[in-house]
Amino acid sequence: MTFEQRLAAIRASLEASRFDCVIALHDGAHFIEKPDPVMVLTGFKALGPVAAVFDRAGAASLVVTPSWDAERASETCPNAKIVPQDDVIVGLAKAIGSSDAAVGVAGLAATPYSTARRFVDLIPQAQRADAIVFKPAQRKTETELTHAREATRIAELGYRHLLDIARPGISEDELAAELRWHSKSLGAEDNFVLLCAAAHNRAVAPSNGRRMQPGDTIVCEITPSYRGQLAQICRTIVLGEASILLHRKYELVVTSMRAGFRAARPGATMADICRAMNAVLEAEGYAEFCHPPHIRRRGHGLGFGSIGPGDVALDNATALEPDMLFMIHPNQYLPETGYLLCGEPAIVTPHGAQALTRQQAALAEIAF
């Protein structure tokens, strides 16, 4: 699918709806869990609050804040009318004029109140229309998949760098910051490095100042973004020699992940993948650890634009289609070993899911 074909699909959804146009809103705070409808419509990753107007004729306007960032927007979106402004709602008023058109809006729920309230005052007739933008974006474009492959390459290099530099005495914060910097030096513009270490991790959590100790298990999600497209790898590393028990349990989560990959075929649902992974763990007596608070999901979509097809979770009935991109990660807490991270980015092909990584998760040990 090309970007133009996706826009055509969004336009078709718009024509089939009661709306004359759809307005996408985003505040410029790019978060792994927060989809960005403006990126979906324009490919533009904004610095500040931004809005895109997309009408039934396929015409797009992009309101850019701050105004001095307009040239970058023009380069990214040569076919859109760029409206430079320092206040996104003022710019939006200029872009749409005085209109009583039927307006759909995407991204309103996550928009900060100060902007959203003024949007509602400006266009009181607007109604939520997130699906018009995000449903056709559940499949990635060819360009997004190329970027995801590059982000994965950077993630794997980042992991090798972690193996080189992690040692007792370094703090979680220092290691995470170094990894983020390293991925930028390789071409990523950002990296969601969720990393922590302990003798017995209850979960993976944001880094803090704790200094690593011999025998710690490091769990990390390395998630570079290349040109706005995220890809992730989930890894587990022991500072020292891992016990036989830990090796055995890690093999169990790898087996669970492989079961997830086998289940991820076109037509299957995201819930099917989750069930397949759970089954491996349940067979080994870990049924109670297959639910909150130990586990919420077994994977997720990868933004920053669309985060479709959503979570690998029992309540996600989304059916898989070729070119969907998401994480498959069992990421399981086991009482004997603590939390274990194991996951790969997967693309759905007509023949099944394919991992983007060259080398898949295996328990690593760092000698020092």
Partner: protein, 374 residues
């Protein structure tokens, strides 16, 4: 300045009572209650992008998901942390607040907490404008007219820096210095623009920076852009904006490095020196702008130093009020301002320079450049 916001805040953020002890937070809260003497408590929201007020009152940086501090006017505060119960241990070192709970069903949690406060008392809402729209509306449904805005009065307090805050800001300026020295060295060694940014960022990290933001120009200083992908260009001159967060507090600078004649930069610096010299308590944004406008000669003011040419700086890069040509807001004693001056020549090339200035009763003190000479 607007910069590209990272998806996760990964730098050091643990609370160190040697930097800001609990007593200083108690003083800040006492001021909050003096400003809102009928309030039974405060609800303070912060997310990874907008958390200056939350940090000011709790030292907590929401690195991953949003957090809400529930602070009674009498009794101990508690904090609701996004991300579920397993996130609590990692959050604990980031704040002095010892009662942490998961941020789930926020409106119900807050309503339960409010029931324990004095009946009929008002509730101070801080950071409410940054809340996601749906969450804020739910709050309003649950708490209705008891909510009163606490942002404006708190911003006044946050602008005036304590001695301890100034000490941290000076550390931030030293970290910024380290980044700029590395940037200049790389630029003089003809490294590409993005390589210069990367070495600057690395130098800041080595000094324990909590965060680092950057913008740079590929068109001779006319426009700025964020780090996207590495580029091989070494534009001439190399204009950049670098911002460093250290211990929660930001320091920022515009730097313009020319291999040859830096005449435009020298003229911009002259304008900046004129602004800094007059940066005294009581001077309005309008008056400061007139100084810049009067010293530009035949050159145009740079768009990045025209409609907004500075702001208070501290826990965020652009604390209110922004300094604008028609602003009647005045410089305040004990506040730190980032001031910038920029010019554009006939050919369209630009240069922007900046300084950080502490306004005192006895006049301006330059915090950055750290040698005191803008």
């Amino acid at each position: 300045m607007q910069t590209m916001h990272p998806t996760l805040l990964v730098g050091p953020g643990d609370w160190d009572p040697r930097q800001i002890p609990r007593e200083e937070y108690d003083d800040r809260l006492a001021t909050l209650w003096r400003n809102h003497d009928h309030a039974g408590g405060a609800i303070v929201y912060g997310n990874s992008r907008d958390h200056a007020a939350l940090f000011y009152l709790t030292h907590f940086t929401p690195k991953l998901e949003a957090a809400i501090a529930l602070i009674p006017s009498r009794g101990e505060p508690q904090m609701l942390i996004g991300g579920g119960p397993n996130m609590l241990p990692a959050a604990r070192p980031l704040t002095f607040i010892s009662t942490l709970a998961p941020l789930r069903d926020a409106s119900k949690s807050v309503a339960d907490w409010v029931r324990g406060l004095e009946a009929g008392s008002s509730l101070v809402l801080i950071g409410g404008d940054a809340m996601p729209f749906d969450l804020r509306r739910t709050f309003e449904d649950v708490l209705g007219t008891r909510l009163e805005d606490g942002d404006a009065s708190l911003q006044v307090c946050m602008r005036r820096k304590s001695a301890r805050e100034l000490q941290i800001l000076r550390e931030s300026c030293l970290t910024l210095d380290a980044a700029i020295i590395a940037f200049r060295d790389a630029a003089h060694n003809n490294k590409s623009a993005t390589d210069c940014i990367l070495v600057a960022e690395y130098a800041a990290l080595q000094r324990g920076a909590q965060d680092m933001r950057s913008l740079f120009s590929v068109d001779g200083g006319r426009t700025l852009r964020p780090f996207d992908i590495p580029i091989s260009q070494r534009p001439e001159p190399l204009q950049a904006y670098l911002a460093v967060r250290h211990g929660g507090y930001w320091a920022d600078a515009f730097v313009c490095i020319a291999a040859q004649d830096g005449e435009l930069e020298r003229k911009a610096a002259k304008t900046l020196r004129a602004m800094v010299a007059e940066a005294k308590a009581g001077l309005s944004g309008r008056q400061l702008y007139q100084i810049a406008d009067a010293s530009r000669g035949a050159l145009r003011l740079h768009p990045l130093a025209d409609q907004v040419f500075g702001s208070s700086i501290g826990l965020s890069l652009d604390e209110r009020p922004l300094l604008t040509p028609d602003s009647d807001a005045t410089l305040e004693p004990d506040a730190v301002y980032s001031l910038r001056a920029g010019l554009v020549d006939e050919a369209g090339a630009g240069a922007v320079v900046s300084a950080m200035v502490l306004v005192t009763d006895s006049g301006p003190q330059v915090l950055w450049p750290t040698d005191g000479c803008p």
